[in-house]
Symmetry: C2
Subunit: 495 residues, 2 copies
């Protein structure tokens, strides 16, 4: 059983949500099996204008199915499965297209629990469907945070999501990361030295353990264990947002060879206390537009997740649930086939990454103006621009030693570089859009994040042509951006 | 152009939402067509494991397609259409299953705008997709209300939705309704006499104009016009939640014969000012589990609706958008076919309603213990239990004349009747679960809603067998519930 005292982490809104009387009545109705119901306005399934839904998906016979599918896109061998309204299938149209509860249909959840069990084998957890990670996370933020709260995140984070919490009045406390992700000692230091004058001490960590967006970093087993211990020490929840879990390249670590799936152990897999809320998505392994994912949590949190779902998006769409359920059913791929697909997919992304690394070495690195860390998971490369080599670089901007002003003009120069690259036909994401500003409680940090935004997030999820052309243009633009300034500086000197 | 000054109705959260820097950068990237992007982690469409999606739907050749589909469910004639990843179709898999914006895909929105144009022809409005009415309304509540605000609604409302606003700190100001829906004079009186000590005067009306849930009432053209005038007088927005719009029975009113679709004019159709936010759903006309609907608003509100969508559920699922787009495409039903289907569907529900009325007349009405109003739209019948005929009925419970205590024990007796009916194998929704409690600003109301909860919501959306059996059991249980008490009262008298 999960420790009941984790419920004190719930927000006031979550705890005080008005009950849905209509649903309560409906539940009391279901207690009797012989009851004729005149209660609910459910359209009868014979009125749904859909009898059959047929999906054509890749055959898994090839050794490397992703590669085969991609190579012969229109003609690669395929298999077909079907959802029916009347005939037997894994999740019928009549069930999937009726009203349901916020958790999603039993059939879809059972399929997904099989995935969970195989990859994480969590101690005692339940699955609630969601509409992908953004949906799941925005709900978690509302469940566990309220105005004035502070949550912990990596110093560089996917701000399209962290800004959602900010709109709800939740602040962020950034933790430094390095090539291996969040630094546990930094996390511990912040919690230990927390100043209550800045609000209550954070009770939630939000992190992306594999192929972190934007830095591409992956937490080692040791760091995972240490962060979990810190969460226990300070009674924190961890929101484990793991969309790139299945895109781990090769064997990330020699220690993982004891599991058949050869993937790093998730926080969920080690969650004895029930303090992990794990968020998974089909976006990166099936397709983003599916808008289907799942939340795995300790059972005590589930009623609250369902309540916020019933009161907002309602249960996930039937089409996506039917597709996934049939895909994982005995007549579809099954879990074994799903595992074969994701293994093949990660090999594909690994080839993409390796191609990116090769082109980066050829087109960018020789100039010495930028360098990259080879990511062990995900889709992103965090490219450091060696801006201190630029003739207009300054690191003496801070007037007072104890202020929080930036020391450098890295942010300005990066903005200029971004515009210059756009003018030269290549786009990336400037690091500054991912930077979480320092929190007042952390004024003892030696320098604000603005001094460290000399990074670009680049992706290798495009075609090889895109990678080749993009990095070639980036390398050229980078050299010109540094040289033009040197030239004009030389010219000024000569004048 | 909509009057810009309607933007003052937005909540602080909506106005102060942090910008999504990542999206902003992305937009600046799109300015150039020759730009190679290394920016976004979008999985390439050749990696989606789905080549073709085929839908088998009813043929529209029969005169009355719904009836034909229902009668020969497994064997009725059908037609098939397909979404492809590579081949030409109305909304391709490669587009629908990629990331999109909160508004939904252009193709799906254009299909839905055709529906809007034909049925409402709104003056100057735009369409934003949503995940059905609950999703759309929970977003609208957050967009236009903040803690401490009061919104207006019918005295009996779908509390599963109104409670969502309450969880956000928004209170409800109930307006009396009669068989014709919200009473405009009551609405006007409340606004005119509003006491600012109870918070700012409501700036939003939430209403269901057709087949209101739970009362089944439908607003006449006159009432619609009058309510719109009141909204103009007091500068209100109206959230027009209209899931039963297509289920209007016969010609609701002689005045509507000038439109080819023969349906009452929506608030949207008369919205010169841009103060209507209309919410539509496919739940009642296609299937609830689709979880797809749309919000129609003046263009000035759209960016805020999209922002809250991007920051919560994200764009609607691709499967539903593909299905609807192909359904309405030249290779599918088209708008003409859709119109034929919904006309046939309303005829089907009208037959169901008529059957319900017939059985009610036979099984319930002769006792004189309950009566019903014949609904002109929707799925619901609001059945009045004549509780004042019950031997234990009391109407003298109020101690002080000016208090807000109930005068009657209607609520208690209804709860007993509900349990008694369950024990006798029939369920309905007791009126009390739909009652909005009176707001402190309305203390001059003659009696609280608890005195008027002697109603049941019943539905005719089930099969004829359900209706026959349910009403027969209800009629019997009702007679026994009244008689048993009379008998025991007689027995007590004799003792």
């Amino acid at each position: 059983m999960p420790p009941a005292d984790l419920l004190h982490h719930l927000s006031t809104e979550a705890r005080e949500r008005k009950p849905n009387l209509i649903r309560d009545v409906w539940k009391s109705v279901k207690r009797g099996s012989d009851i004729v119901s005149l209660a609910n306005g459910d359209p009868h399934y014979t009125l749904y204008p859909l009898r059959r839904l047929q999906y054509e998906v890749p055959s898994l016979c090839p050794e490397d199915p992703v590669s085969a599918w991609r190579a012969a896109h229109g003609t690669a061998t395929s298999q077909t499965f079907t959802s029916h309204i009347d005939e037997h299938c894994a999740l019928s149209i009549r069930t999937a297209l009726q009203y349901s509860t916020g958790a999603g249909s039993t059939e879809a959840r059972e399929s997904i629990m099989e995935i969970n069990k195989y990859y994480h084998n969590p101690p005692n957890h339940v699955v609630t469907l969601a509409l992908g990670n953004a949906d799941a996370l925005s709900k978690c933020f509302r469940l566990f945070g309220e105005p004035g709260d502070n949550f912990i995140a990596d110093e560089y984070a996917f701000t399209a999501l962290t800004s959602v919490a900010e709109s709800q009045g939740i602040g962020w406390v950034p933790v430094r990361l390095d090539a291996g992700g969040m630094v546990p000692e930094e996390l511990h230091r912040i919690l230990l030295n927390w100043d209550d004058a800045c609000g209550r001490r954070p009770h939630v960590i939000y992190l992306v353990p594999c192929g972190q967006n934007p830095t591409g970093s992956t937490l080692s087993i040791e760091r995972r264990k240490r962060i979990y211990e810190i969460a226990q020490e300070f009674d924190l929840l961890i929101i484990e947002d793991d969309p790139y879990y299945f895109l781990q390249f090769g064997s990330c670590s020699p220690e993982v060879t004891d599991s058949s799936h050869n993937l790093l152990p998730s926080f969920l897999s080690m969650d004895e206390d029930g303090r992990i809320i794990r968020v998974d998505s089909f976006s990166k392994i099936i397709a983003p537009g599916m808008r289907l994912g799942w939340i795995t949590s300790n059972p005590a949190f589930q009623p609250y997740i369902i309540a916020i779902t019933d009161a907002s998006s309602q249960h996930p769409h039937g089409f996506g649930q039917m597709f996934i359920t049939e895909l994982l059913a005995p007549t579809g791929w099954q879990l074994r086939g799903f595992d074969k697909w994701v293994h093949s997919l990660r090999a594909e992304y690994q080839r993409q990454r390796d191609f990116f690394v090769k082109v980066f070495h050829e087109e960018v690195e020789p100039s010495g103006l930028a360098e990259m860390q080879v990511p062990q998971a995900g889709m992103f490369v965090w490219v450091r621009v060696n801006m201190e080599k630029h003739s207009r670089y300054r690191d003496d901007l801070r007037i007072s030693a104890r202020s929080m002003e930036p020391r450098t003009n890295a942010k300005d120069l990066m903005a200029q570089l971004f515009d210059y690259c756009l003018d030269n036909g290549v786009a990336f994401m400037p690091g500054s859009v991912f930077a979480l500003s320092s929190h007042p409680a952390l004024l003892n940090m030696d320098s604000p994040v603005e001094d460290r935004v000399n990074y670009c997030r680049m992706t290798f999820s495009g075609t090889q042509e895109t990678i080749q052309k993009g990095l070639s243009r980036f390398g050229g633009a980078l050299r010109n951006f540094f040289n033009l300034d040197s030239l004009s500086a030389d010219a000024e000197t000569r004048e």
